[in-house]
């Protein structure tokens, strides 16, 4: 995100963080506006469903553009992102939980979540992760199913 290619030369953003935040805001605002293109806007006298959300999205778009300009003109800090694998395993772990919980019940889903999200984490090893997973699953069954009586399935069947 530090540079955007342009013909011949490359444009340098002096504050990549600000520029990137601006870009994120512009993308979100644009998506929102596309989603609302069929909504009626109305007027101050007669506000329709789209009046406030479209106005807000427009404001967000303006701020996003301001941030991009700020990122181009004003000095700032680079974006730090050292490690990718822990992030991926966390996201994978949560997804696995979401996909499993309805069919396979609470304990198996918790074990899967803990094991998957411990992949590639500094200091964690598979034996400890498994142990933690089993203990945590047992604790969760006790707390959520027996003590709080939440309607989770314990087993796949």
């Amino acid at each position: 995100m530090t540079r955007t290619p342009s013909p011949g030369t490359s444009v340098r953003f002096r504050s990549p963080r600000d520029a990137a935040l601006g870009l994120v805001l512009v993308v979100i605002a644009s998506l929102a506006m596309i989603a609302m293109r069929h909504l009626r806007f109305g007027s101050l006298q007669q506000m329709e469903a789209g009046f406030l959300p479209i106005t807000t999205a427009f404001l967000l778009l303006v701020i996003g553009v301001m941030k991009i300009v700020q990122g181009y003109l004003v000095d700032g800090e680079p974006i730090e992102g050292e490690r990718i694998i822990p992030l991926l395993s966390t996201l994978a772990g949560i997804s696995v939980f979401a996909l499993m919980i309805e069919r396979l019940g609470l304990p198996i889903s918790v074990i899967a979540l803990v094991v998957v999200c411990s992949i590639g984490i500094e200091g964690a090893n598979i034996r400890q992760a498994l142990l933690l997973a089993v203990l945590l699953a047992a604790g969760c069954v006790g707390l959520f199913i027996y003590a709080l009586r939440l309607p989770f399935g314990i087993f796949p069947w």
């Binding site: 963080r17 600000d18 990137a20 935040l21 994120v24 805001l25 979100i28 929102a32 989603a35 609302m36 909504l39 101050l44 006298q45 007669q46 506000m47 329709e48 469903a49 789209g50 406030l52 959300p53 807000t56 967000l60 701020i63 996003g64 941030k67 974006i79 730090e80 992102g81 050292e82 490690r83 822990p86 992030l87 966390t90 996201l91 772990g93 949560i94 997804s95 939980f97 979401a98 996909l99 919980i101 309805e102 918790v110 979540l113 803990v114 999200c117 411990s118 984490i121 500094e122 200091g123 400890q128 992760a129 933690l132 945590l136 969760c140 959520f144 709080l148 009586r149 939440l150 989770f152």
Partner: protein, 506 residues
């Protein structure tokens, strides 16, 4: 008047002292201390995580427990700050400045007990303040129409900018994003679907629980894991004697009272609360001191005053929430969300419609503070051991509780994916110097802002001057304008920068 207050407090204590409610209060305070001690897990994440668990409790019990988490977190944050120089909470950043040097000089015990005593004194005074002021504030607010509410909410949102670290523009962007997200789903007036992207689950709007858990639980985990080194702890000063000397007690007396006053004042203000209060209190003590050079090297006043202030601020921020239904900060916004999930509408009518709930909460605050005073000091050893708990064990637990909490609230796997999405969004925002707190605040007050604005416009037939024609509304808007001017004034900006630089240096 005095009789009224006493009668009300008696009603409250009668309700709060039932064994079940005492238990909820204790559990809340303990869990709050726990999350306050553990770095990277704030009261917002804790309240969001425990929200689904409180659904099975009666509303009073649920509310008592959630409040316990909030003020317990202030105590827990101080422990981590003093003993290991890591602010578990943003409101305890300044406690590190003098608390940790005291710990290194072997006076950690004294710092802890002064901080606990200061917090207790502050909590007690503010509890009385709430009891005496609440009824009159609510009765003023009962006359509020939509324009007054709109102006008040606007003031609250702009106030929250003061709290967000970093740039004002970023904070305003986060507020807009929060407002926009709050408008997802069916339009309350016409029923038209807005920004649902054709997904049926979105027609009811974005869920509060997946949103907060994603922004504060999951994103915090992602943020910590992405850093090169996980924070390594322990430069633990140790302490032999937890009792402060007579001299230390004497020099803490006035700072505690000053801190309480400042905290009470700043906590009521929109956007105020614990963090702002403690920063200001530290600054004031340093200014007033005859030997300011002692500050930063273990001055007891530098612990006593901010600690009293952050607890006073935390509790005073209940005042606008309970009497007006307006959140002073994101935690209070979450409380409003929690209450509405229990079918209780916050606002000026709550004192009259739910007197038991209201006064039980006020009473339980005091009880909670008393409990914290007595459980915290003896348990310090356990809390310190928790600080050594390795992160690679902690984060799977945070994720597990988040997933189960989100799924358990609605039995919806869709919500788990929504949490995941907001976790990623929160992570990106944090990496790019944005703050999720104003976003959540705006998300929660969004529907109120929209409704009060639309009602005002129907009332005035589209004439915007209604907001300045009505005196209370005009006054609130003038206050908002004053805040905006303050925010762009160079002197305040540099003060803000100073404060938040201290924040980053942890």
């Amino acid at each position: 008047m005095v009789i009224d207050v006493l009668g009300n407090l008696a009603l409250g204590f009668g309700e709060a002292l039932t064994p079940a409610n005492l238990l909820y209060c204790l559990v809340g305070s303990l869990v709050g201390t726990l999350v306050g001690v553990l770095p990277g897990l704030g009261p917002l994440a804790a309240i969001a995580m425990l929200l689904p668990l409180t659904f099975s409790l009666p509303p009073i019990g649920a509310f008592i427990m959630l409040s316990g988490i909030y003020y317990g977190a202030q105590y827990g944050g101080s422990i981590a700050a003093i003993l290991v120089n890591i602010p578990g909470e943003s409101s305890t950043v300044v406690t590190c400045l003098d608390g940790h040097p005291m710990a290194l000089q072997g006076r950690g015990g004294a710092a802890l007990s002064i901080s606990a005593i200061g917090s207790f004194v502050a909590g007690s005074i503010v509890t009385l303040l709430i009891a005496t002021m609440a009824t009159s504030i609510s009765s003023i607010a009962l006359g509020f129409g939509p324009p007054e509410y709109f102006s008040l909410l606007l003031l609250g949102l702009i106030g929250s900018v003061l709290l967000a670290s970093g740039s004002v523009l970023n904070a305003i962007a986060m507020i807009c994003l929060g407002l926009l997200l709050s408008m997802v789903g069916m339009d309350p007036v016409s029923g038209a679907g807005r920004m649902t992207f054709g997904i049926p689950e979105f027609s009811a709007g974005v869920g509060l629980i997946p949103l907060t858990m994603g922004l504060f639980g999951v994103s915090e985990v992602l943020y910590n894991l992405s850093r090169k080194r996980n924070p390594d702890l322990l430069s633990y000063g140790g302490f032999r004697n937890i009792w402060p000397t007579r001299q230390e007690l004497r020099s803490s007396f006035a700072p505690i009272l000053r801190g309480t006053g400042l905290g009470a004042l700043l906590g009521i203000l929109p956007g105020g609360g614990a963090t702002l209060s403690s920063f200001v209190a530290y600054g004031v003590e340093k200014k007033l001191s005859k030997e300011p050079e002692r500050f930063g090297n273990g001055a007891i006043e530098g612990v006593a005053s901010p600690e009293a202030a952050n607890n006073a601020g935390a509790q005073a921020s209940f005042i606008p929430m309970l009497t007006l239904g307006i959140p002073a900060n994101a935690v209070m916004a979450l409380m409003i969300g929690a209450l509405s999930m229990h079918g209780i509408q916050t606002g000026p009518q709550i004192i009259n419609e739910q007197p038991k709930l209201f006064w039980a909460l006020v009473a339980s605050m005091w009880i909670g503070n008393l409990m914290l005073l007595f459980i915290n000091l003896p348990l310090v050893g356990i809390w310190v051991r928790l600080l050594k708990f390795p992160y690679h064990f902690l984060f799977p637990m945070i994720l597990t509780f988040s997933c189960i909490g989100v799924y358990g609230a609605e039995m919806s796997t869709f919500d788990v994916f929504v949490m995941l999405a907001f976790g990623v969004l929160g992570f990106i925002i944090k990496k790019l110097d944005g703050e999720p707190a104003p976003l959540v605040l705006a998300f929660i007050v969004g529907p109120m802002i929209e409704a009060s604005f639309r009602r005002s416009m129907i009332f005035s037939r589209g004439d915007m001057t209604i907001f300045i024609e009505r005196p209370i509304s005009a006054g609130l808007l003038i206050a908002t304008a004053a805040l905006v001017i303050m925010l762009v004034m160079p002197k305040i900006r540099s003060y803000r920068r100073e404060v938040f630089v201290a924040d980053e240096n942890e």
